[in-house]
Subunit: 348 residues, 2 copies
């Protein structure tokens, strides 16, 4: 197993380091030979070589069976709207060039953490939904984008082709078939031309999956119902920007962003990353919660290597750490909390 | 006071009828002469004259001091992505032609309803935030939009000019000055060119309002923090589509969409509407919750006529109805609930 390691910015390196410990432990326990190759991205790469996704990093990813990714983003760039090179460009370029068109983001609750959620127990207990967010199209990539000559107007373009929608939708139907057989297509078909193409395409495919019930909901309604009654959902498919907003929103259900993993699937490799960002305020302090990254490594065993026992060993360890309170300060109940590195050691 | 009445579709006519009763009662109590003029919109107008916002309706609105609007939308059109004329087009055309560039959506809690929220009491009690959603620009209106010739690709365009951003942002600064002096600019400046123009424009204006603290947050982060800790916000400004999603999301805080009013302010008139939609499943059953529309009438007295006592008389009546349990079935605690029309009568 060749794994590319992209720690990235902020807390990225610290949380990736814990995932590496855990993956090593799994390799030892189950007898796998695992090779890591590290490469730079994001602000770290801008600082080093002037580009947030260097060609060399791309080659490392292409030659890997899976990519473990930390986070990208640096406050130095956020409040400078005129910055020419931005860390996020690296993330987007990476997704595009690796063909990672489907971002799989599960949302579930942890029995020992339900009380931490801002939502009431009876609303969320047993939530088990998964978003498939389209990741290489839409307004994130559409052209033209920019300003008019005088700088008095800015524009972005949202574009979707039938093929882009179809491959994501088919993956959605297949996920639903393996789960509770409910697929929700989230769009804004009452306003957007692209959303109407989404809805039409999904409607056209539906008869091929007669065992799956398909629902169509507007993105504003989902933003509401996701909080009111998340248990109503099973598999949700949606375009890039809606997926960005809704999956972050959904992460509050579990009570902590620090817990939510994701997998990006597609053409050239598979990538696994926590959905939390680079959290620069915590960087270098050994306090960031590594569990989302460790659970992303579990998803890696499941989705990249189809090794379910290995995946389960990791998620069992995470559940145990939560039960025993071997957690970072964001999850600690009383006085006692652990460092990022201590949680990683314990899990390994 | 000349008020245009646009009941629209679904439950629109029923909830508007209750607001009319209440406005009449206020007129009587405070000695105002109030004239109503009704006009058609939405699916109702498509059925009657083939257009969802007929010219005659536009003239009625232009000649009014304020517009009371119900809801637009009909399921007959939702799952037919190829429909040529759609009710929502009427809503968008109305907003555009009336120059209603700022949609003001407050979110607050009702002491007697806090326990109804899916969120825990301590997270939401005392929430008092207001969104200013840009309403006549962005991807809702940008050109080009549509399909390529072969129908294999669809596209939408998001466009913003500095002036569009500036007038909305200035209104946001002014709202903040009259409130807790915190302004949050919600954008996706790490990805979108339009968002970078938003951020730049707000940054340029900020020094003119030195008493206001300005924060910049990404839309995905706000989708999360809005649920985690809504009390952190005061005034939020954002573009059309983000505002659509986030204000619906925010409505869950109060425990019921049936309660949230809105005002649309701008150039040619002012419009007041509940933020819930046409809710077709409930239409004609006399069960829809009229409170959001009645509170929209309260906002009308405040924003269109600057009559604060009248506005307060209405919101006091609504609070009393909640305390006494004179509510529709969606809010009823025990066996007893009231019809839409009965709640309207009681309030009046
Ligand atoms: C950092 C940013 C560009 C990115 C996105 O919007 O896709 C992030 O929010 C995410 O969800 O991975
Ligand atoms: C009906 C729809 C076009 C509308 C919108 O998206 O603006 C509605 O959701 C709203 O928020 O008023």
């Amino acid at each position: 197993m060749n794994i590319a390691l992209l720690p990235g910015d902020g807390i990225g390196p610290e949380v990736i380091a814990q995932a590496v410990k855990v993956v090593h432990a799994i390799g030892k326990k189950f007898g796998h030979t695992i090779t890591f190759k590290e490469a730079i991205t994001g602000a770290a790469a801008i600082d080093a070589v002037g580009h947030p996704y260097p060609e060399e990093t791309h080659q490392v990813c292409l030659q890997s069976d899976a990519v473990l990714f930390g986070a990208i983003g640096d406050p130095r760039f956020d409040n400078d709207p005129s910055a020419k090179v931005r860390p996020e460009q690296g993330l987007l370029e990476m997704r595009k060039r690796l063909g990672l068109f489907s971002n799989v983001r599960p949302t579930f609750t942890f029995p020992s953490l339900v009380h931490k959620s801002p939502l009431k127990r009876e609303r969320i207990e047993g939530t088990d939904l998964v978003f498939l967010r389209e990741l290489t199209g839409g307004i994130y990539f559409g052209e033209p984008r920019g300003r008019n000559e005088q700088g008095t107007k800015a524009f972005d373009t949202c574009v979707y082709s039938v093929e882009e929608i179809e491959r994501l939708a088919r993956m959605g139907f297949e996920f639903a078939q393996k789960r509770r057989k409910l697929l929700t297509c989230v769009d804004k078909a009452n306003v957007l031309a692209t959303s109407r193409l989404w809805r039409e395409t999904v409607q056209r495919l539906a008869p091929e999956y007669p065992d799956v019930t398909v629902e169509y909901e507007f993105v504003d309604a989902v933003a509401m119902r996701l909080i009111q009654w998340p248990k109503a959902y099973d598999v949700l498919i949606t375009e890039n920007l809606f997926g960005d907003i809704l999956t972050d929103e959904a992460s509050v259900i579990s009570g902590s962003m620090g817990l939510m993993p994701s997998a990006s699937l597609g053409e050239n490799t598979k990538l696994f990353e926590p959905i939390h960002g680079s959290y620069p305020q915590a960087a270098g302090k050994d306090i960031a919660n590594p569990l989302a990254t460790v659970l992303s490594a579990a998803m890696m065993f499941e989705y990249a290597f189809e090794l379910l026992d290995e995946a389960k060993a990791i998620s069992d360890a995470v559940n145990l750490s939560l039960e025993k309170g071997v957690v970072t300060e964001d999850l600690a109940e009383g006085e006692v909390s652990y460092k990022t590195s201590e949680v990683g050691d314990w899990l390994a």
